[in-house]
Structure formats: structure tokens, C-alpha cells
Symmetry: C7
């Protein structure tokens, strides 16, 4: 994949904390441990947030890429 | 599939207990017995949960991958 | 298809009674007579259930795989 | 296509009366005159039913396969 | 495309009046001037109907096939 | 692409004013400046309409084809 | 990709401010830093707007192309 592809920006965040908005409007926050070109990804220490409050803690979570609206990634 | 693919993290959980959130907001919990690259998977001793309560027991269940939001997997 | 594929677990149930949850939340129960890799399948003696009550009987039904949430299959 | 494919069960019903449930919960009933592997199909003498009552008559109708939930087919 | 394909039934209606139901429940009626295998099509003298009343007139309209539920075609 | 394809009717409207209905029921009106075979397209001087009133002006807009219901094109 | 493709109009805006409407009706505004042919893209200094008010600031955001309705791009 060329370096300038948007998905590459995600790959460069491996081991960083990211926030992920899903189509059901929930947000997951955790440490990015794996990702692929479909935006399937795994988080460690994953928390689910509703209206900025932590609503659940899940440990390791595999998120299916096609349900992702956006991913906030550190600069 | 390369070892670092997110879907590989699921394969490594064969025979472990996983929790699966579906698009209709229900959660399935059970022992992962099969999975493929589309996240189609089978659970043994599958339970359905609504608001953290067991709402049904199904024995063996085949879940269609494209309806999965996320999968909680043991670390 | 490799023997360990999830869809193989369905194929092994040909002629057994299965229950199928569709995206519109209805459940179909019947004898599995055909299936393919997209989870398209046919049931004989198909019944539709709403809240555990039989709401309709349809005889032979062809169900389109992409509308299936999950399939309960005997062990 | 192998004879045991689910879609083959539909092909064998050419010229028979079938009932088709669409994603918008309406049911079409008519004589199956054409079908393909995507479940695109044409009905002759097509009627639309709502709650078991005929709500409209359309003559010849082409139904797009991806909107079909299930098809009831004679045995 | 083989002559017996459902989509062929549409092609045979070029220059005839067809009615088209979209996923948003509106109906378009007009003279079919072009169509392709995805059911993308153009209508001339297109009218939009809501509850059997003409609600708008659009002249020439290009309709995207994947939003079509069904097409009523003359026999 | 053969001249009689529906998408060709769109291509012939480059630099003309078109109206586009999106799945969220909004209508965009503007001068068609680019289009491709997926109905991705750009409009110049784009206006958004709600119930026949201009609700916003956007200048140049790129619209994703898979959200389009239909396009009204001059004859 | 040919120069006249709609997606090319986006590529020409790299480093410019764009506004993006998502299927959940939110608008993101930010500096376009990467994009690909699926409209996956990254924004720097991304703000989320609801009814023309800034409702959140996210820094760098990766947006999944298939959730995009339209993109407003400077002329």
C-alpha cells in the first residue's frame, strides 16, 4: 500500500490510544494492537463510552471495520 | 493470512469463551468452535444476553459475520 | 471448503431441524434441505415464530442468506 | 450450478405460484416466470398482500433479488 | 445474457410505460428509455406518485438500480 | 461503455443543471462537472433543497454515488 | 485514474479545508491530508458540527469512505 493511503495513517498508530466511533453511535477507546485494510482492528484495554462516560470495559476487542464511522488518531 | 491480521486474533481464541455484539444490539456469549475470514463463526453453549441478563440459551449457534459489531476476546 | 469452516457446520445439519433468526427479528424453524456458502438455504415444514409462538406455517421456504443473523443448529 | 443449491429449488418452480416476502414486509404472490442466481425474478399475475389481504394487483412484476427475505415455494 | 434472465424482461419493455417502487416507498412512472444489468435505468416523462396521486413531474430521470424494490412491466 | 447505458445519459449532461435526490431525502441542485460509472459526481454552484426551498449553498460538492436515489436530467 | 474522475477533484484539495457530511447527519470540517479512491480520508484539525455549531474537536481523524454522503470542496 502506498505510504500516503489513509489506512496507512492508522497503521502508524499501532500501540497508541485511538477512539473509534461505530455506526450505533458508541465510542470505543483503547490501544490499537492490530489493523487491516478493511479497518478491522483489535484494541487492548478497550473501554466503551456513551456521552463521554465510560459505560463498559472489555479488555481485548476485535472490531469489524464495516461498522466504523471514524477513528480519532493521535498526531 | 499474516499473523498480525486482526482476524488472526480471533482464530487464536478457538475453544475460549467470547462475547459477540450483533447489529441488533444483542450479545451472544459462548465457546468459539469455528471462525473464518468473514467473521462467520460458531459458538458452543451459546447464551444470548440482554442488558447483562441471560435471555436465551441456544446450544450451538452459527453467526453470520456481516452482522457483528465487535467481539470481546480473552487476552 | 475446509472441514473447519463455520459454514461446514451448517452443511452437516442437512435433514435436521434448525432455527433461523432473520434481520426483521422473526425466527424460522424447519428441516434444513439445502444450503450454500452464502447461507442461502431451504427449509421443509417451515414455521415462523414470534415471541416463541408459531405465527405462520409455510411448507417449503427459500431464505436469502444475507438476511440471516444466526442459525441455531443441533449438536 | 449443482442440483443441490438452494437457488435450484426456486428454478424448479418455474410456472408455479410462489409467495415472496420483501424487506419492507410486503408479500408478493404470483406465477414465477423467470429467476436468476441473485434471486432477481419475474412474476405473472402478481398480487401484493398486506396482513393476508390483497392490497394491489400488478400484472407482471420484476422483483430485485437483494430485497427478498424469503420465498415460499410449493413442495 | 440468456433470453430467460429476469433482467431481459425489462429490456423488452424499452419505450413502454413502467412503474418502479423505490426503497423509500415512492413510485416512479414513466417511459423506459434505457436500462442495464444492475437495473440502473432512465425514464422519460417521469412522474412520482404517493398513495396513487401524482406528487411531482420530473421529465427525464436516471434511477439507481440498487434502490429499486420492484418494477411493474406491461405484459 | 455502450452509448445506450443509463449512466451515459448522465455523462451527456456535463455542464447542465441536474437535481439529485439522496437517500436522506435531501435534494442537491447544481451544474454537473464530473461523473463516473458509480454515479460519484461533482456539482458546481450546488444548492441543497428541503421541501422545494433552498436550505444551503455549498459551492463545489462531491457526492458519493451509492447514496443517490435518482437524478433528474434535462432532456 | 483519469483526470476527469470525480474522486480526482478531491485529490486536488489536499491540504485545503473540506466539509464532510456523514450518513449519521454529522458534519466534519478539517484540513484534508490523505484520501483514496473509496473516499477513505484523513483530516487534520478536525471539528464536528451539529446544526452549524462546533460540537467536538478531534485533532486527526480517519473517516471511512462508505459512510460519506457528500464532501464540500473549495473551488
Amino acid at each position: 500500500m502506498p505510504e500516503k493511503m489513509p489506512i496507512k495513517a492508522l497503521e502508524q498508530q499501532l500501540n497508541d490510544i485511538v477512539s473509534i466511533k461505530l455506526k450505533d453511535q458508541r465510542i470505543f477507546r483503547g490501544r490499537l494492537t492490530r489493523c487491516d485494510m478493511y479497518m478491522n482492528l483489535t484494541l487492548a484495554d478497550a473501554e466503551e463510552l456513551e456521552e463521554d462516560q465510560i459505560s463498559a470495559k472489555y479488555g481485548q476487542v476485535l472490531i469489524r471495520g464495516n461498522n466504523i464511522l471514524w477513528i480519532q488518531i493521535p498526531e
